[in-house]
Symmetry: D2
Subunit: 158 residues, 4 copies
């Protein structure tokens, strides 16, 4: 758990919602997707640029939602978007061109208005872990409740 | 502050280093850089894709280091790299094509082996806040101590 | 000029519209914009990845249109888009992290339905040249005529 | 064929090497790879940003070279790089988030110092065609001859 104490003097600060710490055990994740590193994703240090891990998380998240029968294209067809409210990445070992990364996905927590997904990237050693926090809005950007299947799914955790 | 409690049962988890929460007061930041949003940085939601904020942070960080007389190109010429170990972004309001974003930078904390930088993006309303944690390595990737000017600079804080 | 001969046997091939060859003389271009290379834009060869030149062209094209009083945001507000139909880049010398590139822009040719822009990138040696061909569509993607100011502007050439 | 006439007055212009026009017949290509469009690759027009097609070409080119037993990682291990000298893309129909694109690859032409690859993207309608021209350099960037297997392979064409 990442606990957050917000100093009362910082009034304008929005409390951090991120509240899970991803494990490094692949067995804790219900889905995974393999992604091969593209050359365009490397940088002049010879490794994957850190910003690309958010794209890897996204590709795996999209594949996970399709896998459980709720593809993101269907969300969008129903007029829903799922913007990222927060992201956290811990980079543990660098990845290189042509590496095949396994991105593990776990739907971790949902409230009525937000849900959290945690990620583990292995190859097969641990490369990175991370979390994204998502809201739900209409296509016009107005916040709305999560679909009920999503809150129910997240509630199934032990 | 973001406090971290790591469950003792998760042995392989590396403790999160991230330990600052960025404020939304521009006066708390010692440097800023304006960045105009490119069309390529938008996505099909019509807003800046969340992964680009890490690139904005990077551009402002590079400009800040040049501003204080320690350009990143000089680091690299001396055989040092400064890989990102952790990143955190809180997306508060979406940004759109052609927006001019002001990215505020604050060198926040340094230990002998890592330093942290916090960011605030305004336009002029608050768009995002974030933190990156950096290590220092040789160009071969071997961890090494931070340059002394950097630890001294971070120690100057009240 | 790039002349195109389409073999009559290749019926489904759409003729290439690209019909200008950019010069390497900055005096042939009416506008320029400086862009500093970001670290994220480099690749594991230690140079700017070739796909980023299209983003540099785009940033300079957007700045040029704003400079002549027809910002792209105004096009979009009027319900017009300007999709890229063709792109050509000749990479002459590699660029590196933190290089300041000057992207020169020349509005070269327009028909009723398309226009062409040529580009020269210097630093100050010649780094790249290129051309993009654009159409004009409604926001629903239906092809439409170019704004009259644009065809008139392109017609002003000697 | 794209024929090029260079005005003799433009002395500094390097002749365009690009000399093939890709067909829209998948049977003319010896290899293909499927790529699913990521959300990060879309833009505010709701379609794939044009710069990403160069990344799709690259991913397919890398897969093709691995398929014929000469993976790009082996080139790099032998101290060779294969920089892109020119690129051409004709965008025919827009692509959207989650589309599965089939990128067809054809090794088209080689000289002692350069080779050309043509591409066709279908889904299954024709989305784009393109060409990249490549040189061969040492890792220090010095031009060198192509590997003999490559010139022989390109010479096998009818």
């Amino acid at each position: 758990m990442i606990h957050v104490r917000v100093a009362s003097s910082i009034r304008k600060t929005r409390p951090v919602r991120l509240s899970i710490e991803p494990t490094t055990n692949p067995g804790d994740y219900e889905f995974s997707r393999d992604i091969r590193v593209r050359f365009v994703e490397t940088d002049a240090m010879g490794i994957v640029h850190h910003s690309n891990y958010l794209a890897y998380f996204e590709e795996a998240r999209v594949a996970y939602l399709a896998h459980i029968g709720h593809p993101f294209t269907a969300w969008r067809a129903e007029g829903l978007e799922s913007p990222v409210l927060e992201s956290f990445v811990q980079y543990r070992q660098p990845s290189r061109f042509d590496d095949v990364l396994t991105v593990h996905v776990h739907l971790a927590l949902a409230t009525r208005a937000t849900f959290q997904i945690s990620y583990l990237i292995t190859a097969p050693d641990v490369r990175a872990t991370g979390v994204t926090v998502h809201g739900c809005t209409t296509t016009e950007g107005r916040p709305t409740r999560l679909p009920s299947w999503l809150t129910e799914l997240a509630a199934r955790e032990p």
